[in-house]
């Protein structure tokens, strides 16, 4: 099968600049349970968004599933917002909470 002649740019694939790291890591990113997202999907999203190995992603997915929520990372406000935005793109219920 021939390769496409015209590229179609995938959304969300542009390079993003890292925010300033000088802020205090005072915000938690929390993922909340729901009955609709597939467990494999949630694991995949954690791997993709945070770059985690599958075992770590599965651990947090199981926390969400069994305990109703999981604290994923503690970051500066900017980084926490970034992660919440990324998780929301995948339709996961994520919030940021001040530590």
């Amino acid at each position: 099968m021939p390769e496409p002649e015209q590229p179609v740019t995938a959304p969300g694939t542009r390079e993003e600049t890292d925010p300033e790291e000088s802020q205090e890591p005072g915000y938690y990113v929390i993922c909340w349970n729901d009955p609709i997202n597939l467990m494999d999907y949630v694991t995949h999203v954690f791997q993709t968004v945070f770059g985690w190995p599958k075992s770590k992603a599965e651990h947090h997915m199981m926390q969400v599933h069994q305990r109703g929520k999981s604290v994923l990372v503690r970051e500066s406000l900017e980084r926490a917002e970034h992660y919440v935005h990324q998780l929301r793109k995948y339709q996961l219920h994520a919030t940021l909470e001040k530590g």
């Binding site: 099968m1 021939p2 390769e3 496409p4 002649e5 015209q6 179609v8 740019t9 995938a10 959304p11 969300g12 694939t13 729901d34 009955p35 609709i36 997202n37 597939l38 494999d40 999907y41 995949h44 993709t48 917002e81 919440v84 935005h85 929301r88 793109k89 995948y90 339709q91 219920h93 919030t95 940021l96 909470e97 001040k98």
Partner: protein, 157 residues
Amino acid sequence: MELFRRDKTHLIFKLDSMEKDLLVETVNLFPVTTENTQSVSKTGDPDELEENQALLDEAMAAHKQESKDWIKGILHNSTRLKFYQDAYHLWLRVEEIEPLLQILNDVRVGSWIQLGCPENVSELNMAEVSTDNARYAWAMEVSGAFEAFFLSTLNER
């Protein structure tokens, strides 16, 4: 439906006519979710939250429009989705699995919301399904099946 060919940068999926029609029908529903369904924080300062919520909603709306344009471009690009010999071939770059999963899951989650957020999604209460929302029951199931398929191909790496 099967993963026909893969290399480091590309994936080609083979679909029969019915599978192709189902995929097109499903992604054509996108976007199903609406903004403001979830607060950005459960505990933060209301004024700060309002600003953050507005930024999040704006970013999500822009992302959905971008995704809608992208999937439309894929489905209408004859070199991306093409009947070849005995089946349709869907040609994707490896990284394009991500926006495809996001679109399918928007349809799944949005359909679930339209159905009233039932707790038990594996055994829908038929009393909750009407002629008005039956298409969402269908879309929730079909989008989930496509998601599971694409995720399984990623796990084969």
